[in-house]
């Protein structure tokens, strides 16, 4: 089944269940009815273009480049919500041109600064300015190459392609080298060859093709090199390291034990830490702190420096929970331990700075990630706390509920949402509850968002608004297993933690991050098994490993099924 076909299947299903507001939550993924052996993935064979973030990471690891050239690339659209190589990423002319310019600059810098490394430590006869002496016995490489050039072709293309190049690919690269070396000697040959490598689809796309099964319609199994790439990009956001590529090449990446071993090793790296942060930021949309703005008429003290502090706090918080703490969803959603600098300390009412230092937040006010200033700031309007925005996001991102769109005439009530200095935000949105027409849907949204009312649009705690007491009582409705009243975000978080729907949703979000596609009902059985083996008290990393351990990680269906 191809991508569009997957979308049409799930679209039809959602249209069917979207007939009313009640019962729109995703169905349970409580596990397979079949044996594990009979489970199969419905992810199709595909190629996944490197995302801009992945491109930056790869050229850092391949070419020692920290300039982040992909920041000047086109701003991609991510259909599955995550910037990790979404299956729909394509290359239009403007992007091909950016790839060309970036490749030329990267290749030139690499040859200027790292020629010996590119040649695998081999030093040609004529010293390059600034380089060490030539290797004895080497002749100056010409258009036909030489030992040092052979060394380059033996090592660099394989690292860049994340697999051995095919004979045809190698022949083309040799051709490019010859043409360039004839014009400008071997450095130009190497430089131009690198340009070709960096624009090749073998570099720009991650291949998830596998070896086609003999039986028609049966899934193919990814090759060890493809598995190495998938593992590395999922866990670390970058190309496989030398050990992983060696494991793939030496037949040590075939069994489940092999995958577990390599996954556990990779999870100890700094790249993995950065990648897990990215997952959290993208799942919770806190990556928007880099550009979020507030209306200065309402929040004059808010600025990009404060937003940067909020983002830095979340980085430290995520790291602390994942790597120093239990790593569980429970800790992520209930912890009062965090970090603050002077700016955030003032907002939180604790002593902070200079620089970031561990702080303990008031458990009556701030328990868990949903109470952190960064989360609250991105999930609010520029001029008010926006219970609707907060409610919608929580239902969609944390409960994986698909909400119906507002009906055509809903905006007749828009006027009431205007700032009114005589009312609290909750009072302004009360008409949503008073009007039965609005209430039918907004009971599932506003009643969640109202629970956040003790926090304004920049995450500051408040007990009054416009001179009136704030009411942070709320009700969670329409879930499979978390319905009930609550007061404040702390109780809302506790309610989420007892919900299997919440847990299933986290599994689904991790699936999207791992696979580069949105799930369909066909994926439910595998996701159910993974969720069955997980709990909110276990380290989130166990969920990561469970996905690696599942059939969907190494199997792909042929297109057309």
């Amino acid at each position: 089944m191809g991508f569009v076909a997957r979308c049409l299947v799930v679209g039809a299903l959602l249209a069917e269940i979207g007939a009313g507001c009640v019962g729109r939550s995703t169905e349970s993924i409580t596990g397979p009815s079949r044996s594990e052996q009979s489970l199969q993935t419905w992810i199709f064979r595909k190629v996944r273009r490197l995302s801009n973030r992945e491109y930056n990471n790869v050229v850092r690891d391949l070419l020692w480049d920290n300039t982040q050239p992909a920041n000047a690339f086109l701003d991609d659209s991510y259909a599955n919500g995550y910037d990790n190589g979404s299956a729909l990423l394509t290359v239009q002319t403007d992007q091909a041109e950016r790839y060309q310019l970036a490749a030329e600059q990267l290749a030139q810098q690499a040859v200027n600064n790292h020629l010996v490394q590119l040649l695998g430590g081999c030093i040609p006869d004529k010293p390059i300015p600034g380089q060490v002496a030539p290797s004895p016995g080497n002749s100056r490489p010409g258009a036909d190459g030489g030992p040092c050039i052979d060394r380059f072709f033996e090592t660099f293309p394989q690292r860049a392609f994340r697999r051995p190049p095919t004979a045809d690919e190698m022949a083309r690269l040799r051709g490019v080298y010859r043409t360039a070396a004839q014009l400008g000697g071997y450095p130009l040959g190497i430089q131009t060859t690198i340009e070709a490598i960096l624009q090749s689809p073998a570099f720009l796309y991650r291949e998830e093709l596998g070896v086609l099964a003999e039986a028609s319609g049966q899934p193919s199994t990814l090759t060890p090199y493809e598995v190495a790439s998938e593992l590395s990009f999922f866990l670390t956001g970058t190309m496989p390291d030398d050990d992983l590529l060696a494991a793939a090449g030496e037949g040590r990446l075939s069994s489940r034990e092999d995958l577990r071993r390599e996954a556990s090793r990779l999870m100890q790296t700094a790249s993995a830490q950065a990648n897990v942060r990215q997952f959290f930021h993208q799942w919770l949309a806190t990556n928007r702190l880099a550009t979020v703005t507030k209306d200065p008429a309402f929040y004059p003290a808010f600025n990009s420096a404060l937003a940067a502090s909020m983002s830095a706090e979340l980085d430290l918080f995520f790291d602390d929970v994942l790597w120093n703490g239990s790593g569980s969803l429970r800790e992520l959603f209930t912890s009062t331990a965090s970090f603050a600098d002077e700016r955030l300390g003032a907002l939180y009412g604790v002593a902070g700075g200079p620089g970031f230092a561990p702080v303990s937040l008031d458990p009556e006010q701030r328990k868990g990630i949903l109470t952190r200033a960064g989360y609250l700031t991105v999930h609010s309007a520029t001029s008010h706390s926006s219970p609707v925005e907060r409610g919608v996001f929580l239902r969609q991102a944390l409960l994986c509920t698909q909400l119906p769109p507002p009906p055509p005439d809903v905006l007749r009530l828009a006027m009431m949402e205007q700032p009114d200095p005589s009312k609290t935000t909750r009072e302004r949105f009360a008409a949503h509850s008073a009007d039965p027409f609005c209430h039918s849907c907004h009971q599932y949204i506003d009643q969640v968002g109202f629970g956040f009312e003790e926090f304004d649009a920049v995450g500051a705690f408040r007990t009054t608004e416009n001179g009136k007491p704030v009411d942070d009582s709320g009700t969670l409705l329409g879930t499979r297993d978390a319905d009930g009243d609550f007061r404040g975000v702390g109780e809302l978080s506790e309610r989420l933690l007892i919900s299997r729907q919440f847990q299933d949703c986290v599994v689904t979000q991790m699936f999207r991050f791992a696979m580069g596609v949105a799930e369909t009902t066909d994926d439910r059985e595998i996701l159910g098994r993974i969720s069955n083996q997980f709990s909110v008290d276990q380290p989130l990393l166990k969920l990561v490993l469970a996905i690696v351990d599942s059939p969907l990680f190494v199997q792909r269906m042929p297109e057309g099924n």
């Binding site: 191809g2 991508f3 569009v4 979308c7 799930v10 679209g11 039809a12 959602l14 249209a15 979207g18 064979r45 190629v47 086109l74 701003d75 991609d76 659209s77 259909a79 729909l88 394509t90 290359v91 239009q92 002319t93 403007d94 992007q95 091909a96 041109e97 060309q100 690919e169 083309r172 051709g175 490019v176 043409t179 360039a180 400008g184 130009l188 131009t192 340009e195 070709a196 624009q199 689809p201 073998a202 093709l209 949309a285 928007r288 550009t291 979020v292 703005t293 520029t382 001029s383 698909q402 769109p405 507002p406 055509p408 809903v410 007749r412 828009a414 949402e417 799930e519 297109e559 057309g560």
Partner: protein, 448 residues
């Protein structure tokens, strides 16, 4: 030709820029064998102010005055009344902004990806680009103080142009990059020729790799690689262009600042330079069209459902939630709000007019470039409170004679929006009886 010289000088003065060595007009068209017809699409969000958009008497209105007060442009303008977008969610949780934005130029039902609404097929600009074997120039100004990026899950609002179902043609947002692309530095030295040789060698190798990989893929994935391969060939065309500039002068705007590297916030969340960005983009788009560099230009004013503040029009509010949404009747909900909606839309009209006038200023054949162009200005909504009836459609230009006359309003009751795509395709040489999911709607009556 004196007339041409004068007209181009006028255009040059309008751009306030220097002359530039330039290839013969229509060179790219001639290279690719595509016709000299041109297409410009404008996409606007948040609806219009109905009472002030449609002419009440004569052929002008408060909103359209920048366009229709110019008699030459007015004579080549058609307003289409009664256009509606049927409610189509197709398994998504989108709203009317999404439906209008993703469907207007694709014509297809929405495609649900993770429950979000994406265009369900290629947009009309890409259908033509593929048919003509050329690349379009997709432009946008997406800066927004209120919404620097589409809200989570709403990346589908980044572009109304699609290569295929769910696959955006992404717009360029930095005019400096557009300038470099359209007006590359002329390289004629021996070193430059060597560089071109090497680049071609590299691109040939890349094309070979792409072809090999495509052979191992199924149809959908192969299409992705085919698009990449087409892009590589377009890059080769651009490289050749940089080597072959000579002989003829073509006016163009001054080189804009390098926004990405000197002031990226102006492309993201700082609206202080927004009108200037729009102006430069339109001038560059006009340059591409009048100089024969590109036959299709698309211009997007903000994200779908965008939230510009329009401080430059004296409004300085979230003009989506706090202005457009409050326009709850065709007559206007209250005078202050109505005035704001009119000012917003008057601004859009002034920018569309800027493009039309730039094309009208350049003679071509027996007429002007505008006579060989079809400009289609569409809106995701009819009215700001999410109404999708009376969506304002403006057609300008004669499309090389297929549009016979202008200066009137088509007012013949309801017209399904698919007719817009059908009209555009018919006008530009594609025989179609319908467009998108309505296969027999025909074009707007009275246009062709």
């Amino acid at each position: 030709m004196p007339a041409q010289t004068i007209a181009r000088r006028k255009l040059l003065q309008a751009f306030g820029a220097a002359t530039f060595l330039w290839p013969l007009a229509n060179r790219v068209f001639a290279d690719t064998g595509s016709p000299t017809k041109r297409l410009v699409l404008f996409m606007q969000n948040n609806g219009t102010q109905q009472a002030n958009f449609w002419p009440q008497s004569g052929f002008n209105s408060p909103i359209l005055d920048p366009l229709l007060s110019n008699a030459r442009i007015a004579q080549k303008t058609i307003l289409v009344k009664g256009v509606y977008v049927p409610r189509d969610l197709h398994g998504t949780d989108g709203n009317e902004h999404d439906m209008g934005f993703a469907r207007m130029f694709t014509g297809e039902r929405l495609l649900s990806i993770g429950g979000k609404p994406w265009g369900g097929g290629p947009s009309v600009d890409q259908i033509l680009a593929r048919s003509w074997g050329i690349d379009s120039l997709a432009l946008a100004v997406l800066t927004s103080a209120v919404e620097p990026h589409p809200k989570p899950g709403y990346d589908h609002r980044k572009s109304f142009c699609y290569f295929s179902a769910g696959e955006h043609k992404l717009p360029l947002v930095d005019p400096f990059i557009v300038y470099q692309q359209l007006l590359p530095t002329t390289e004629t030295s021996e070193a430059a020729r060597q560089r071109l040789l090497l680049r071609r060698s590299v691109l040939d190798a890349v094309a070979g790799d792409l072809s090999d990989l495509a052979r191992s893929l199924g149809a959908e994935e192969k299409r992705k690689l085919d698009l990449h391969l087409t892009s590589i060939r377009q890059v080769e065309v651009r490289l050749s262009r940089a080597m072959e500039q000579s002989q003829t002068q073509c006016p163009h705007p001054a080189q804009p600042r390098d926004y990405t590297h000197t002031a990226p916030q102006l492309l993201i969340n700082d609206e202080s330079d927004l009108p200037e960005l729009v102006r430069i983009m339109i001038d560059l788009g006009a340059t591409g069209l009048t100089c024969g560099l590109v036959p299709i230009v698309t211009m997007q004013f903000g994200y779908g459902g965008g939230k510009w503040r329009f401080a430059w029009e004296g409004i300085d509010m979230n003009c989506h939630d706090d202005v457009a949404h409050h326009d709850t009747s065709d007559e206007g909900s209250d005078p202050i709000n109505t005035d704001r909606v009119v000012r917003m839309n008057h601004y859009y009209a002034s920018q569309v007019s800027r493009m039309a006038q730039a094309l009208e200023a350049v003679p071509e054949g027996d007429g002007t470039v505008l006579d060989n162009t079809l400009i289609a200005w569409a809106n995701e909504l009819g009215r700001g409170d999410h109404r999708q009836r009376m969506v304002p459609i403006v057609l300008i230009g004669k499309a090389a004679g297929t549009v016979r006359r202008g200066g009137f309003v088509i007012d013949q009751g309801d017209q399904v929006f698919n007719r817009l795509g059908c009209t555009i395709l018919n006008a530009l040489g594609q025989a179609r009886e319908g467009f998108g999911d309505v296969t027999d709607c025909g074009p707007f009556p009275g246009v062709l």
